[in-house]
Symmetry: C2
Subunit: 333 residues, 2 copies
């Protein structure tokens, strides 16, 4: 019953030609008569032949796999990011006949990634979320495995693709400043994430450029848990800030629930904005001013950059992608 998979040998025999020729007809490389190629292609089409990726891989010393490294300790609010990014990578990879292997890396344990490299199961790696001293990045660098970071990496030598968080944050902040909102507080997560450092820089730069005084006591970084977010909000309110910017949507949603519980009205009593947009905030009433990034595109660009790197094509060390500033009711004057 089970029709054995055809091989290139079967085709050669059936068509009375050498398998070299069959291979050439399929790959399109090397000179081959138009007629022969047609015959082969017709045959392949009829029998739905597809070359074995693994045999091809062995012959070419490639795997046609790339790995996507996901931290195991993401918070659930990070999931949409990983998912969309993966979606973009996966689509682009597919199109280029590559497949995506996921490698979960838990705090300090990169053994899954090491296995992948040791056993030579991958041609390259995409890192999602990189920290200042990034273990996977260091490992891959040392082992000369091509990789690209989805998101900014600390070291400039790392190939990286990122949305332009710095400019985005700067622009959103600038807009608020020019609307006359001057006392703006910022609540941010871990400063060991490069992206949070960029966000802070963008925020600062906006004030600098506008020549407006920035009250540093309104900046809260490394705010790691809900309790600390809430106390930060309390302090900020005491300090009579006009606006709170949350560095990401998870922080923002805590800010919002705290404000709602304490019966503050947005934007009348206090304005709120977020440096990151997601479905978490989408539903909120009133709508929240936020930065929006196309994460699927990020994934796609990462993937094509990686594939180019694998093929030793020329690539940009650093690619910066766009952003959208969504001005909504929450910052209305």
């Amino acid at each position: 019953m089970e029709t054995k998979k055809k091989t290139i040998d079967d085709i050669a025999r059936d068509l009375q030609i050498s398998k070299t020729t069959v291979s050439r007809a399929i790959s399109g490389k090397g000179r081959i008569s138009e007629e022969t190629r047609r015959r082969v292609l017709a045959y392949i089409n009829e029998y739905n032949y597809r070359p074995s990726a693994i045999a091809k891989g062995l012959a070419k010393s490639k795997t046609f796999n790339i790995a996507f490294v996901m931290p195991g300790d993401y918070s659930s609010s990070d999931l949409p990011f990983f998912q969309k990014c993966m979606w973009g990578i996966s689509r682009t990879a597919s199109r280029m006949d590559y497949d995506l292997i996921v490698s979960m890396v838990e705090e300090g344990d990169i053994s899954q990634l090491v296995r992948l490299v040791d056993r030579q199961k991958i041609d390259g790696v995409i890192l999602s979320r990189t920290t200042e001293k990034d273990e996977p990045a260091a490992y891959l660098l040392a082992n000369q495995i091509p990789f690209v970071a989805a998101g900014s990496a600390a070291e400039e030598m790392i190939i990286q693709v990122d949305n332009d968080h710095f400019s985005a944050c700067k622009e959103l902040t600038s807009i608020l400043i020019y609307k006359g909102i001057r006392r703006i507080a910022l609540i941010g997560g871990s400063n060991s994430y490069i992206v949070n450092q960029k966000r802070l820089m963008g925020f600062r730069e906006a004030f600098m450029q506008a020549g407006v005084f920035l009250d540093s006591s309104l900046i809260y970084t490394d705010v790691e848990n809900p309790a600390r977010i809430e106390s930060a909000v309390e302090e900020i309110l005491e300090k009579k800030a006009e606006c709170i910017i949350a560095m990401d949507d998870s922080i923002c949603s805590h800010v919002l629930s705290k404000l709602s519980r304490d019966h503050y009205r947005i934007p009348e009593d206090i304005k709120v904005a977020s440096f990151y947009n997601s479905s978490l905030l989408e539903q909120h009433q009133p709508a929240i001013t936020a930065l929006n990034f196309d994460v699927t595109e990020l994934g796609m660009v990462c993937c094509s950059t990686l594939l180019d790197a694998i093929d030793k094509k020329e690539i940009n060390r650093k690619t910066l992608l766009g952003y959208e500033v969504l001005m909504k009711e929450s910052t209305q004057k």
Copy 2:
């Protein structure tokens, strides 16, 4: 600079033995003297040699890859499920020297999966979330690719691993009934998901077994969007139900926000429970009675079941995993 990867030939030459012997020492198959094996192992250890998975794969006609099929059209509330499940699969796979390839399947488009099968890149597949007429399942069945469904599948012939949603829903409902709560409403999502059918059956069974009248007009199924959830809640309140059970946490969170907006107190005015627990509900005040499932375990069991199937070991067509009933304040009398 770049140290070329060692091959089994290098080892054989350096150790002055045949590569057959080296292979045996590594795999542990076949008779081999203790001393020879030690020498090989020592060498391997010193040079950190790892056999090429791809060469091994070609020789054994295996890929040591399994695919995890993720629907592209999940809602963001499903993400934690996919993520945890994937985490469980990935860990177990790793341990058995398999790797996980993700295959995204968008509505009606299983081309990514087809490619994987055609190019022989995988030994088996894990399906997450199966519908009544499941395209991927039908395709894999037709192509005789081993696969297991994470979650209940419609056809009994499909190998499936699932939490026991039926018993769980029945138990939670029974507890509420025995507490004297009789007018219980149910709001459920798409009935084309097998899991939602099981939930409904469990709910019904609890009433049946308790011999309590079930007002069918309090059952809302196929409630697909927030607007419909809200109108369902309104109707339910008009019908003087004492409790609302949401089939999943996404529905539940909409129910909760609707109730909160209309100033209903939980549990005083109306009780609320959910047939699914997640971080979405975790934060809620008051705490919500819900069913809890270990999704990581589900992933692990799926994976080991699949690997057994691939190795033609004996396996159970159907494995039912446990659950936890979390009784909280939201259903307190």
